[in-house]
Amino acid sequence: MLDLLPHLVNGLVLGLLFALIALGFMLIVGLMEQINLAHGSLFALGAYMGLQFIGPNPPLPADLTTYWLQLPLGWRYALALVIAPCLVGVVGIAVEVCMRRTYGKDPLYGLLLTFGAAMVIEEGIRLIWGTRDYVLEVPRAVSGAFFFQDLIWSTYRFYAAGTAAAVIGLVWLMIEKTSYGAIIKAGAHDSEMVRALGINLSRLRLSVFVFGTILAAFAGIILAPIWGIRPHMGVDAVVPAFLVIVLGGVGSFWGAVAASILVGLAIGLSAAYASEWSLLSMYLLLVAVVTFRARGLFGKKSVLEA
């Protein structure tokens, strides 16, 4: 039993990371009933932006650059975690403005539009940064490894999982416990009534989309040291994100989080027995669940299944 412990812990960590990746996707699906396939590319863009800020050539004015480079790595990393997602948020604004034309139509159009946007962003990344792999430098405090029970554990994975748990908690508090969250949920539930109450619905949708984008970019920076930075990382992120939303059920916050943990554990445990095939386990899990439950684990009725 003991030899399964590292696989269980790895699975749990992976599950939390999947939940972090899926968080922005989930908000946009749950609150706007739109599938944002550009999520993965925005995730990748976040990682590249973070890289640019932490690396030797930050996109800043010359005099600011010298000051910026004198900052210790920890500060640069912490600031990049805030600045880079906000810059990616600007790209999110552009995507949402394009997406407005598809609201009220078949959800297929929103999905296709964001697929096109994903292609454009990914090609843009290849154009700017090339196709090579990059490694994101992280502060000493969260890198390295430690010993526990005669096993080596990577510090960074635990830091990343902890951050994921904290962000998930904060987002949940924001949706459930603030009046802003109440308005967003009401907008998803009955947009006409929300508009009748004098709330600017298009600004509301824009802010939800940008918030989802920022979360995607943030997840990109957190995941970058684990997965490495390359143009294809967007596709590697959007597929699990989409998967956990479908597995958890559209419109269910904790359903998606539970699905992430399940997927993480499935991958972690199958890695113990057949590491080559461990990625298959998440698709088999999805097929097994959705074959018997039409709306995933905890899904609600949604226009996305029409």
């Binding site: 959800p107 159009y109 292609m119 454009v120 090609e123 597929v239 479908v246 097929v287 299944e305």
Partner: protein
């Protein structure tokens, strides 16, 4: 298929004037393609992808089912062709049949799991199965050759008993693929305009209405998926011949996404020929813009975004609406339609 095309006399025909014109035009392609600065192989590729896109559009355009993992069946066909050639029989007909049957079996298997699902759940189930097939293609090294795929697949001669054609040259292969394309077009045209096709169109409009009218909706959804998968497998087999190999790339999600893009850009949702137009535009853009810049996908992505935003009915829809706007016949038709609708 829109109401206009199914009420036109062409709907009842086996071969329509448009088909004849298109086939004749395609048959001349090897004569001038080299002079146009392109190469004969491009013609082969366009025809193969056209068969694939037409087969895919049976699911997306005719039945309105969001499948995003059709590359899997294309790939299954390609691998089955290669494996049959290596292990069973080098005969062309046997290998093509094996590819079609393998893809049909894969399609039936998947259809049984997904046909009771709708919308996003349906869409993602198709993606999940595509990923399963793709993972098998990459990891089952002994069977599929892993990331490299199956190499050195031959192009066996097309043997008709009394006469046999050598398909090793690209021009010969082009005419062989064109023959398959002709058969596929006739078959699909009949299928789409048959009572079966009408039920599919009804399912596309409203699954609930179709099921309340007493149609076994899931059976229709499952069968159309299987037919489409089988034809995609046949296209995959031709692709394996054309490429002399079968490799996992054609099965990945991006490639499956490309076929969706081709169908939509061409206008597959409103027109039977949309997929063919889309394939031609996609592959020509790849080769023409690709000659100037490595980032041609950027430009095609932008074109795709513009199409979705402003012309969701695609190029075929654009041509059709401008035709109706500018021709007297079109105006007469729309006037008639107005009268009948209001009366």
């Amino acid at each position: 298929m829109t109401a206009a095309s199914s009420t036109s006399p062409d709907a009842a025909r086996l071969v329509t004037p448009t088909m004849l014109v298109l086939w004749l035009a395609l048959a001349t392609v090897p004569l001038w393609i080299a002079q146009a600065g392109l190469y004969p192989y491009l013609g082969v590729e366009i025809l193969i992808w056209s068969i694939y896109a037409l087969a895919f559009n049976l699911v997306l355009g005719t039945a309105g089912l969001p499948s995003f993992g059709h590359g899997a069946y294309f790939g299954v066909g390609a691998y089955a062709f290669g494996l049959c050639q290596f292990n069973l029989s080098p005969n062309l007909w046997v290998s093509l049949a094996a590819a079609t049957i393998a893809a049909l079996v894969a399609g039936i298997l998947v259809a049984l799991f997904i046909s009771h699902r709708r919308g996003i759940y349906y869409a993602f189930m198709t993606i999940a199965f595509a990923q399963i097939f793709w993972t098998i293609a990459i990891k089952a090294y002994d069977l599929t050759g892993g990331e490299d795929g199956l190499l050195r697949i031959e192009r066996p001669p097309a043997d008709f008993g009394i006469i046999s054609f050598d398909l090793r040259g690209n021009v010969a292969l082009f005419y062989f693929v064109l023959a398959v394309f002709v058969l596929a077009v006739v078959g699909l045209w009949r299928l789409v305009h048959s009572p079966y096709g009408r039920v599919l169109a009804a399912i596309r409009q409203s699954e609930m209405r179709a099921s309340h009218l007493g149609y076994p909706v899931w059976l229709y959804k499952a069968s159309v998926f299987a037919i489409s998968a089988a034809l995609c497998g046949l296209a995959g087999a031709l692709f394996a011949m054309a490429q002399h190999s079968a490799f996992p790339d054609v099965m990945n999600l991006t490639q499956s996404g490309y076929v969706v893009m081709m169908v939509l850009v061409g206008g597959g949702l409103v027109n039977f020929w949309g997929p063919v137009i889309g394939v031609a535009v996609f592959l020509l853009t790849r080769d023409v813009i690709g000659a100037f810049t490595n980032s041609w996908m950027l430009w095609f992505g932008l074109l795709f975004v513009l199409v979705v935003l402003f012309r969701p009915e695609g190029i075929a829809g654009l041509v059709k609406s401008s035709f109706e706007r500018h021709s007297l016949r079109g105006q007469g038709l729309s006037a008639l339609r107005l009268i009948f609708r209001s009366g």
